[in-house]
Homo-oligomer: 347 residues x 2
């Protein structure tokens, strides 16, 4: 059947042209006689691909030379433990800005390893200058809120960019480290990226599992363990796609425009409500409620109209529209047309 | 080009029919209008698939009801740390049978977490009855040796089956736990399987990273974090393939026959030598040396003859032939014919 428009929060929609490329060569990777799925992660052919992808990532995301980029076979959530293990000692403290589910889960995990101080507002956040690090989640996918300004902290700032990495330019030097699972804006699930300033690589606790020891993985070029050759390959196709779109500046303009169209529609229609204060509204996850209890009907009719992935996170309910890189302005316009029609018939 | 025969130790060759199935539906998973790569890991459609795959795995591997099966987005090597963290307290001991690289690396990692006693021979191995667990690697891919008998231990036996799981029937009750990365006999890299007796799920240390906490993952049905929907889907195709072959009994007969043909050829030809004592020879990784320094020529000519992945592990040199599930008797015969010809011309 025709491909549906997938507004899921992740694993998310991938550009059709990337999937088509992967499909074309799935049995025979660029005429080599084997699949990328069968490629030896230490062989020269995969090695060349991986080196080029690392280089493309550094160029596109403007990563300075004194930052390492790690590609790790681990879920983003593994870093909730790996961050305190790599960046602190047990007697130290860390500061967490908790504005939604993911930063909360990160703070809870960190408390297993050190003393954690939490704040719930960027405006009033005061980071202890003696802390090992300060931690933020720059986009909260469940609550649909986004930190549009990077806080100033005197200590290394760590940011969970799982839902924002490669959606916009990054001022890398503001961070000591940032990380992301790839399954939203970058590639199929199965990989997380860690970008870390090199001076932070020497402080892992001895009890850090080796596969999550950033310094050790950096020494091994992310190949301490067998790595996920397919997700890395797909990341490479996405980096080419980003170049084709014009880079992160162009993508960011488009990503903002997508969100603005949807928020403008929601704000203009009584049937739909978004409760997030305007300065915190996320460009990547737009949450809203219907003003009648027709949640199921909305999802069923959306699917019939060719759109899926609109269900809100199970912890908060309502609807959620994830506007990741592969979602186009045309897709957003189709959703708005559907929402308008639904409200007229059901509102 | 034609598909090469891939004798790589992993990521390994996959059956062509599985790759073809994945290719066919890569843009449109069974007519649903989206790719399996884009499937929501908590949605009902992926949920049905995942439930069926868990059930198929339990049936094919004959897993008793009191064992949990976990599908984790983690490299096998993550379990080198996760095992002591989940199964022991710091003041306890564990016994490791170290017969090759992988058991050695596991023992080194475990020493970060508890006191480890190592032995190097199954015959003389005496496990401390007070130990938290005993640990073996039943097939050492680098040295080409395999433990054909399961040792008796009074304490829970843990086995790294990364290179052997689903190559033969398993007497599950002999083990407290076994685990495997999937990239050799099961699916593309990106997933590890943990099979663990339920009474062992209650002893994780508080500092265990949540994503590697077996009890917590069991409570969440392996969905504490976003899981690798593609590797899970491919595991499902492999389970169907195993059924089509006649199950693990049939596969094991074939896997043994593959190895016997190759060892018989090596033993009959002076140009090739395998140094592993017969009772320890692996059915899954056959290592050998040439009696002239023509290593590179062998690899180059093998590739020209349609065969790759024959280079020995970088730590030991020589040649290595991995005879995982997707390698057929026909493939082995083709290799033997090449080796015979090479020895005649170059020996």
């Amino acid at each position: 059947m025709d491909r549906l428009i997938n507004f899921s929060a992740g694993p998310a929609m991938l550009p059709t042209e990337i999937l088509a490329q992967a499909q074309l060569e799935l049995l025979d990777w660029q005429g080599r006689g084997y699949s990328i799925l069968e490629a030896n992660h230490r062989g020269s052919e995969f090695g060349e691909l991986f080196a080029r992808i690392k280089q493309d990532f550094r160029r596109i995301a403007a990563i300075p030379d004194d930052y390492q980029v790690l590609f790790l076979l681990a879920p983003a959530r593994a870093h909730f433990a790996a961050i305190p293990l790599n960046l602190s000692q047990p007697e130290q403290t860390a500061d967490y800005l908790v504005m939604g589910l993911w930063s909360q889960l990160a703070a809870v995990e960190a408390k297993k390893y050190l003393s954690v101080q939490c704040a719930d507002s960027a405006q009033t956040w005061r980071v202890n200058p003696a802390s090992a690090y300060a931690y933020i989640t720059d986009n909260e996918t469940v609550q649909g809120i986004q930190l549009h300004d990077v806080p100033d902290t005197q200590v290394p700032l760590v940011c969970d960019m799982t839902s924002s990495l490669l959606t916009r330019p990054i001022d890398v030097r503001r961070y000591g480290m940032f990380f992301a699972g790839v399954q939203k804006n970058i590639a199929p699930v199965g990989l997380s990226l860690v970008i870390i300033r090199e001076d932070l690589l020497d402080r892992a606790r001895t009890v850090t599992p080796s596969v999550l020891d950033y310094g050790l993985q950096a020494q091994h070029g992310s190949l301490l363990n067998t790595n996920n050759n397919f997700s890395i390959y797909m990341t490479g196709l996405m980096l080419e796609w980003i170049d084709d779109q014009g880079g992160l500046d162009v993508l960011w303009v488009r990503n903002q425009e997508k969100a603005q169209r949807l928020y403008a529609f929601i704000d203009a229609h009584d049937y739909y409500t978004n409760h997030v204060p305007a300065p915190l509204r996320s460009c990547l996850n737009v949450v809203f409620d219907l003003n009648t209890p027709q949640h199921e009907a909305f999802l069923v009719e959306a699917r019939a109209a060719g759109m899926i992935g609109l269900n809100g996170h199970r912890s908060v309910g309502g609807m959620r529209v994830s506007l990741y890189n592969a979602v186009s302005l045309t897709h957003v316009d189709a959703l708005i047309a559907f929402m308008k029609d639904f409200a007229e018939r059901r509102g």
